[in-house]
């Protein structure tokens, strides 16, 4: 087990390195750097001015060197600029170059500087992640029990009318992407058109003070898209368990149906959905980006959109590290959890 986890963590680190290198490469392509220089300086910069800006700020070094510096395995650059000023990667916020550390990469805990928000990327990510964490917590609280109840109800009597209608509901929810359900919810419950203006159409206020009125619609929008999928997996697993021999034995010896479902079937039926729930996190991340944009909730997803559309290199890298970490960790947890829940599987 330990060697399995170690091997998985090794692959995780390798994946994270590859992914960040790809993001680094794509954001450091010359047209992107040119756009960055022009948004930082002004839009009518001459080509020479762009080049000297990029040179002075260390953007024109070879790609592996830049990546090493960002990672913290190579010493940060110290460049004498064309304007006679000395600039060092590690000397930020008016710090003297001599006092600055030699290495300042992600390994030293330095997430870099966001060119859009003009702030330390690490602190931006921390605050935004906190806000998204709040959103995700409520999403999970709505989605997981909802999906499990629907799935178990549908799966305990395969082919019944309850099963058919609940299955249709879950198909409907998987077919509704967040930007459709969000638009529909805002139109119906956020405006006075249908006379049901029960909720707020934006969640900006929920960042400081989340309540039912301003937070329910975004939570429901994300939860709904994931719910159908988990419910269908739970249903499949439940129908399989309900045809097992030991359930038939229990029925034959006269155990009440509710007891069979709750005592005998449920525990075995919930193994498969656990994996699915864990693997839903990457998809939830997409939902978060869409919903935060739609409801103007300035969390992690909103930051991703801001960073990506302005080519804010270091913030974007920070964002991708966090999201890759989330994706890979949930995969690891789902694998380990599967082994714990299912005694038939043993990993040497």
């Amino acid at each position: 087990m330990v060697s399995f986890i170690l091997r998985r963590i090794g692959i995780m680190v390798l994946t994270a390195l590859c992914l960040t290198f790809i993001v680094f490469w794509l954001t450091n392509l010359f047209p992107n750097l040119e756009k960055l220089a022009k948004t930082q300086g002004n839009f009518r910069m001459s080509d020479d001015a762009v080049l000297s800006y990029l040179g002075n700020n260390g953007y024109l070094q070879p790609l592996p060197v830049k990546y090493g510096q960002w990672l913290g395995v190579l010493p940060g650059y110290v460049i004498a600029g064309t304007d006679g000023q000395m600039r060092a990667r590690c000397a930020t916020g008016g710090q003297d170059i001599v006092d600055a550390a030699r290495f300042c990469g992600i390994l030293q805990g330095n997430w870099g500087y966001s060119t859009v928000f003009r702030e330390d990327a690490g602190s931006i990510i921390a605050t935004r992640l906190g806000l998204t964490g709040k959103l995700m917590f409520w999403v999970m609280l709505v989605m997981v029990p909802g999906a499990l109840i629907i799935g178990v109800m549908a799966g305990m009597n395969e082919g019944s009318r309850t099963d058919r209608s609940l299955s249709t509901v879950s198909i409907l929810s998987t077919a509704t992407p967040e930007y459709v359900s969000g638009v529909v919810f805002i139109s119906v419950f956020g405006t006075a058109t249908f006379g049901m203006q029960w909720f707020k159409g934006t969640a900006t206020a929920a960042m400081d003070d989340a309540n039912f009125e301003n937070f329910f619609l975004p939570v429901l929008t994300i939860a709904l898209y994931g719910m159908g999928y988990i419910a269908r997996m739970t249903r499949a697993s439940m129908t399989e368990v309900m045809t097992a021999q030991y359930i038939r034995t229990a029925r034959l010896k006269g155990v009440a149906f509710s007891q069979i479902v709750l005592r005998h079937a449920l525990r075995n039926a919930l193994i498969a959905p656990f994996t699915v729930i864990m693997l839903q996190f990457p998809f939830l991340l997409n939902g978060v980006v869409i919903v935060e944009t739609l409801f103007n909730y300035k969390g992690f997803g909103w930051t991703l959109v801001q960073a990506a559309s302005n080519n804010d290199i270091e913030l974007l890298l920070g964002v991708s590290i966090v999201s890759v970490f989330v994706v890979l960790t949930t995969q690891l947890i789902s694998d380990i959890g599967y082994v714990f829940l299912n005694p038939r599987i043993r990993i040497a």
Partner: protein, 481 residues
């Protein structure tokens, strides 16, 4: 000319009737569910004389009532669609006029269903679809949008106004508004109102279907070609090749899709030519796939193989070259006369294929890992068949069931992805009538005007729902064998 109301003269009778029937349906359902909680499930009863009897009592009566009510509901809904066809213009309201505009689609749908149901026993898996209600509903939704796209894209029917034309005074106008003199298109009303730039929403939604119906299935086919061509050998051979490819697939899948889109679909990246190189790489897979397919089938008859291979590969190669070749990009070597077409949304197409291919790869690899242990594969190996022959002609046909189902689901997912791209304004011009862009335009003023954003949202929802139901029906029917 007066503005249109939603249902016009038709609504005076049909609206109350529909409301009453729907309410009755709801009441019966609730009562029935409540009664069933307390009593045991009664299905068919077998009588001593060997006959079967339907369930009696209150529950049985409610069951029968519900069936009649549902049929009444369907009949009423059909009336909304059919009655306006014989009413004069404008008297049947917005709904009636939309129905009238869609007449060619209704005719095509009815014809398709009539023919298919008549010959369903001879049509294989497609025919079996007509045994399942869910599958039929799904197919109807999908075919509806396919026919809309065909009639709009090829015959230029259905749309009422030019979807790019801005008419002053109709900015954010409510549904059913009268277009000023001189700006009428096929009809003098904006059926679903005007958007923020005073364009006709109905025409934009209908024109948007062309984009989705043209791109989504094609991109999915390409993703399948890539996934199959790489997934078969990965699953069949295993080893280092499999490890490397699986790692690469997991790498792409670990990217949040939206981050990937934001990195790939920007004007700056297009400038570097990366999408063109990716297109050159990804579009080569169908060529390889078909080449290997033909070769493995006919390699024992070289003359026949060459006769088939040359024209097929020749024309496909030409298509391939003109697809990746576009003037003004990094790949621009063909003379203008040889370049058949340019794909204007190449970057969107490529990134959608790129996102879908790894998942298909994983599915095909998993299926191959399972199927390669079967006896018929061992038999083929004993006969001395080549590895690619076994993969393409022994394993692939036996994996078709799950692949067809996934194909339907994946077209739906691709539609969602295309909508996401439009929603974030990536890769498509803001003029484009596709549904994602229209939703994005509409949502900016959503709290004031809801009518510009809702129709494209509903259109996208119905198409994806149709594809999902279709996949569900196919799965059910293919499991029955």
């Amino acid at each position: 000319m007066d503005p249109l109301s939603w249902t016009g003269g038709l609504g005076a009778f049909l609206n109350p009737a529909l409301a009453i029937t729907a309410a009755l349906c709801g009441i019966v359902l609730v009562v029935q569910t409540g009664l069933r909680m307390g009593s045991a499930a009664v299905t068919l009863q077998s009588n001593p004389d060997g006959t079967l009897q339907g369930r009696g009592g209150v529950l049985g009566a409610l069951d029968t009532a519900l069936i009649y009510l549902v049929w009444a509901l369907v009949a009423l809904l059909l009336a909304y669609v059919t009655v306006p066809l014989v009413m004069p213009y404008g008297s049947a309201g917005i709904l009636g006029e939309i129905t009238r505009r869609l007449l060619p689609v209704w005719i095509a749908l009815v014809a398709t269903f009539a023919l298919s149901i008549r010959f369903k026993r001879r049509l294989g898996l497609y025919g079996k679809l007509f045994d399942s209600t869910v599958g039929m509903i799904g197919l109807a939704l999908v075919l509806f949008w396919v026919y809309v796209a065909v009639f709009v894209g090829i015959f230029d029917m259905i749309v009422t106004h030019d979807y790019l034309r801005q008419v002053s005074g109709l900015k954010n106008a409510l549904p059913g508004v009268v277009a000023p003199d001189g700006t009428e298109g096929a009809i003098p009303h904006y059926l679903l109102g005007g958007d923020n730039l005073a364009r006709d929403i109905f025409s934009r939604v209908m024109a948007g279907s062309v984009f989705v119906i043209a791109i989504a299935p094609l991109a999915t086919i390409f993703a399948f070609m890539v996934g199959i061509t790489l997934g078969l050998p990965a699953g069949y051979y295993g080893g280092k090749f499999d490890t490397a490819l699986s790692f690469a697939a997991n790498l792409i899948l670990a990217f949040p899709v939206i981050l990937l889109f934001y990195l790939l679909v920007t004007p700056e990246i297009v400038q570097t030519g990366i999408p063109s190189y990716m297109a050159a790489f990804l579009f080569a897979f169908p060529l390889i796939f078909i080449g290997v397919l033909v070769n493995t089938r006919y390699y024992t008859q070289p003359a026949k193989r060459n006769a088939i291979m040359l024209p097929v590969l020749g024309s496909l190669g030409w298509l391939y070259l003109s697809a990746i070749n576009a003037s003004g990009t990094v790949i621009d070597f063909l003379p203008a006369w040889a370049d058949l077409f340019d794909i204007s949304v190449l970057v969107v197409f490529v990134s959608v294929v790129f996102v879908n291919a790894p998942t298909v790869f994983r599915i095909v690899r998993g299926l191959t890992l399972d199927l390669r242990t079967r006896d018929y594969v061992a038999a083929a190996q004993t006969r001395g068949e080549g590895a690619w022959y076994i993969m393409l002609w022994e394993i692939l046909p036996n994996a078709r069931g799950p692949l067809i189902v996934d194909f339907c689901l994946r077209i739906g997912y691709t539609t969602i992805l295309l909508g996401t791209l439009g929603f974030f304004g990536l890769g498509l011009s803001s003029e484009s009538p596709d549904w994602g862009t229209t939703i994005n335009e509409g949502r900016k003023l959503l709290l004031i005007y809801i009518h510009p954003a809702l129709p494209p949202a509903m259109a996208l929802l119905s198409l994806v729902l149709g594809l999902n139901l279709l996949a569900d029906g196919l799965r059910e029917e293919s499991l029955k064998d």
